[in-house]
């Protein structure tokens, strides 16, 4: 406890249907920058929210040092929590923990100095002492190396970088001893990242500790001292940065010792001759998320897209499906230029799309399995706008059997199904339309082994029937098993493409780890 400012031991947290954290530890020393790493669903943000009191943990203990460097502020033994001691955002702030969230929990319409002091404004005779607020804000910002910011301007007029600094400034003004930064550089330019790192180094000098949650390996290696890696809600381990390489870090996050019992490489890649070009995207760019990406897929081919969080995979999928309009680039479908302004256009051209976030973007939770499955094909089923329940049921029965969907019947509300079965229903939604191109973003996320195998078979069969498939996944084995070719993205760019014999975990991870081919890599091997 002597040199640890924070000790989280054995933290567990379960949500209905999902184990988010299982006996996770996190130890942070005084004045260190500690990275918290892991892929989507690893549990990073849940752990942070447990720390700050947004969520209440189910088990485990949290010890946080106060001024004297002793004494826990919160203790939760195996007997169960005592209400008084549970954390809340207010209490954790008061104790000295401050968080800069990715969504930047600031109020856009209030001014910079207000955001820094909200809830704790210095007052004289009951009224806010604006002079002091402004002065202190300027002081804090200039301590951080930021001069010339008009602290009275509304926050939304500032750049994202300044807004980030404001969030950090708030943390400092609370005299936080521990600052948690959740993906702080996701929207910053190189220059702005430099500024941020300068600030972090200054904080370190003041013996303030920082938990740095990020997926950007370069940055983590540059600024962090140690790292805790999570995977699937469990602790993989805690390491000093000097003991790690980028490659090793990637492999720890992704987990080469997966419990999968399936064969390493099953797919016999069909040749590319004699197949029609279904999709050709050239030089697609949008904002800073995707830059100059070009891919093409023939019918019956499965093109995998690999890349870490933030690599632009999902954005690319959205652009191809017409959900977002690219700033630059061209998309051709079936050798014809496609100007899609909405998913409706894409669907009309024969595309289908399974989103990675089925809860927000796929499932209609209060509607039935039947409705969910037939939603995309409804207009074609009936006559003159009238539903044909018979046709609907026929489709439902076909696919419930074919895809082995576990449901009490087509009328069951979708929200009652397990994740895997929901995914199958969503798949069926597009399958019944006989698409020419299926875009699948994390098709087996949150699904157990048996379910994964089933879905992979379905995908392979689809391709066998001539459908072109774009498969995005963070699971290496899945891609290696099923894909003909794999495009690797990193930070918005396509850094390479592997085909047939080239496909192997080492190659993929190497490409992901070392980032864009255009950037100099001074850390890795």
């Amino acid at each position: 406890m002597e040199d640890h400012i924070l000790e989280m031991k054995g933290i567990s947290k379960t949500f209905p249907g999902v184990v988010a954290l299982q006996e996770v530890d996190l130890f942070v020393r005084y004045g260190e920058v500690h990275a918290l790493m892991g892929e989507n669903g690893a549990g990073k943000s849940t752990l942070i929210k447990v720390l700050t009191g947004v969520y209440q943990r189910d088990a485990g203990e949290i010890f946080f040092a106060d001024e004297k460097g002793t004494g826990p502020i919160c203790r939760n033994g195996p007997e169960g929590a005592s209400h008084k001691l549970d954390l809340s955002p207010f209490r954790s702030q008061r104790a000295g923990i401050s968080t800069v969230y990715q969504e930047l929990n600031l109020v856009p319409y209030l001014s910079v100095c207000e955001n820094i002091f909200i809830g704790r404004e210095p007052k004289t005779r009951g009224l806010i002492d604006w002079k002091t607020v402004e002065r202190r804000s300027r002081e804090i910002l200039s301590d951080m190396g930021l001069e010339g910011v008009d602290v009275n301007e509304p926050l939304h007029k500032q750049s994202v970088a300044v807004a980030q600094m404001v969030a950090i400034a708030r943390a400092i003004s609370i005299e936080a001893k521990l600052v948690v930064m959740d993906e702080p550089t996701s929207s910053l330019s190189e220059e702005e990242v430099r500024t941020l790192f300068r600030v972090i180094k200054r904080l370190k000098k003041q013996n303030i500790s920082i938990i740095f949650v990020s997926h950007k390996l370069d940055e983590v290696f540059e600024i962090c001292d140690r790292a805790t890696i999570l995977r699937d809600g469990r602790l993989v381990g805690q390491y000093a940065m000097r003991d790690l390489t980028k490659l090793k870090m990637v492999s720890l996050m992704i987990g080469r010792d997966a419990t999968s019992v399936l064969d390493k490489r099953k797919r016999v890649s069909a040749g590319r001759e004699g197949r029609d070009l279904v999709l050709k995207a050239t030089g697609v760019s949008r904002a800073r998320r995707t830059t100059e990406i070009s891919i093409d897929i023939n019918s019956g081919e499965i093109l995998g897209v690999a890349g870490l969080l933030g690599s632009g995979r999902t954005e690319l999928a959205r652009i191809i499906f017409g959900d977002e309009i690219p700033d630059k680039g061209r998309i051709e479908i079936g050798a014809k230029n496609a100007h899609m302004k909405s998913p409706r256009d894409a669907i009309r051209l024969g595309l289908g799309f399974c989103s990675e976030d089925r809860k927000e973007e796929g499932v209609f939770p209060n509607m039935s399995v039947l409705d969910n499955m037939t939603m995309a094909i409804l207009p074609e089923l009936g006559k003159a706008g009238v539903l044909s329940r018979k046709a609907q049921l026929r489709i439902a029965e076909t696919y419930i059997t074919k895809l082995n969907i576990a449901t009490s019947g087509p009328n069951q509300p979708m929200r009652e199904l397990s994740g895997g079965n929901q995914q199958k229903v969503l798949l069926a939604r597009w399958l019944c339309k006989n698409p020419i191109l299926m875009i699948m973003d994390e098709p087996t996320r949150g699904i157990d082994i048996a379910g994964k195998a089933e879905i992979e078979n379905i995908i392979t069969e689809l391709a066998g029937g001539g459908v072109a498939i774009l498969m995005i996944s963070s699971e290496m084995e899945e891609l290696i098993r099923s894909c003909d070719r794999i495009a690797v993205l990193s930070e918005g760019r396509k850094v390479g493409e592997l085909a047939a014999q080239e496909i192997s975990e080492e190659h993929i991870m190497h490409m992901m780890a070392h980032g864009s081919a255009l950037r100099e890599d001074v850390h890795g091997q």
């Binding site: 927000e360 973007e361 499932v363 209609f364 939770p365 409705d371 939603m375």
Partner: protein
């Protein structure tokens, strides 16, 4: 061009609070059933209570009276249910009733035939609905605000259309129609009401349109990704609601025998929303409980009738309705 989804319905409290809310009612068994059939329970309870305390309650006269009273609320509530299940709301329904009745009165008393006059009245209301729908989906303004504007300005517009505050329709064929009884027994309102319920039920259960409406209310983002034309569907929903208001407005004008733009359909939005709340259609959208709304509308009408029949001062009915709505919302909150 399609527009992405915004917050359709003004509801700031639910997002953060659901994570931490732990209702007391969760522990009470049987509440689930109550939630699903709450409206029916209210209905039966009300009937039982009234039968006990009100003389002559269980008679055909009461039934007929109640149903005729309920007629405009029922029609408007049916349209309102569709709007609410799309995740929106429409408080301009009273004003739309007045507008369509004003158009009807103006044309009819100027010599235009009955059918075309009614047709134009319905058209006018449809245009109002179109206006609402376009501002909501294309310009992405919150439904409550758009319909608030129409509510404020609508009656004034109606008066300009009609040229005067009030037009009499008594002793005209239209006025007589308003008092007409089919086979000398069943008031025409009841027939129209049944037809409307049947048609809306059909639409809700059997059309692609209704499925799209529910999808938009259930998960607007997913609806767009599934290829639903959210723009057209939203416009359609508000237009249907407008048409229901037109029918209600014209028939009420006929029955009352006059069109008074300041009075026609005044506060009917309150009763309609109450009916929907009691009937169990969630205000967050995604489900359409038409039969629930039907029962809810009858409950609302019953409250008024019971209060009248028992010589209770009529303003108590407002208090009762408010209480019923609060209880209905409370029980349905448990998710």
């Amino acid at each position: 061009m399609e527009v992405p989804c915004g917050k359709m319905y003004m509801d700031s409290s639910t997002k953060t609070s659901t994570a931490t809310s732990i209702g007391l009612l969760k522990s009470i068994p049987g509440l689930g059933a109550f939630r699903d059939h709450g409206a029916t329970v209210f209905f039966l309870a009300l009937i039982a209570l009234s039968a006990l305390i009100t003389p002559n309650f269980l008679s055909f006269g009461t039934l007929e009276n109640t149903l005729v009273q309920v007629f405009p609320v029922m029609l408007v509530a049916l349209g309102m249910t569709l709007v609410i299940s799309s995740g929106g709301i429409d408080i301009s329904v009273g004003a739309i009733m007045a507008i369509s009745a004003a158009v009807l009165a103006r044309l009819y008393t100027s010599g235009v035939g009955l059918a075309p006059s009614i047709g134009c009245g319905i058209l006018a209301a449809g245009l109002c609905g179109l206006f609402n729908g376009i501002l909501i989906s294309r310009f992405r303004i919150q439904p409550i605000i758009v319909t608030l504007v129409v509510m404020i300005a609508g009656r004034g517009l109606a008066m300009r259309v009609q040229g005067q505050l009030s037009t009499s329709l008594e002793y005209t064929p239209l006025g007589n129609f308003g008092l007409y009884k089919v086979a000398d027994k069943v008031p025409v309102q009841i027939v129209i009401m049944l037809a409307a319920v049947a048609i809306i039920l059909f639409v809700v259960k059997k059309t692609v349109f209704a499925k799209h409406v529910e999808a938009i209310g259930d998960n607007c983002r997913a609806a767009r990704l599934v290829g639903i034309n959210t723009l057209a569907t939203t416009i359609g929903v508000y237009t249907v609601c407008g048409i229901m208001c037109a029918i209600a407005g014209c028939m009420e004008a006929a029955r009352i025998g006059a069109v008074n733009v300041a009075q026609l359909g005044l506060f009917i939005e309150l009763d309609a929303i109450a009916a929907v709340a009691i009937g169990g259609t969630p205000f967050s959208g995604g489900r359409t409980r038409i039969l629930g709304t039907v029962v809810g509308a009858v409950v609302v009408g019953l409250v008024t009738v019971i209060v009248n029949m028992n010589d209770i001062p009529s303003h108590y009915s407002m208090v009762f309705k408010a209480l019923i709505v609060v209880v209905a919302m409370w029980t349905q909150r448990k998710k």
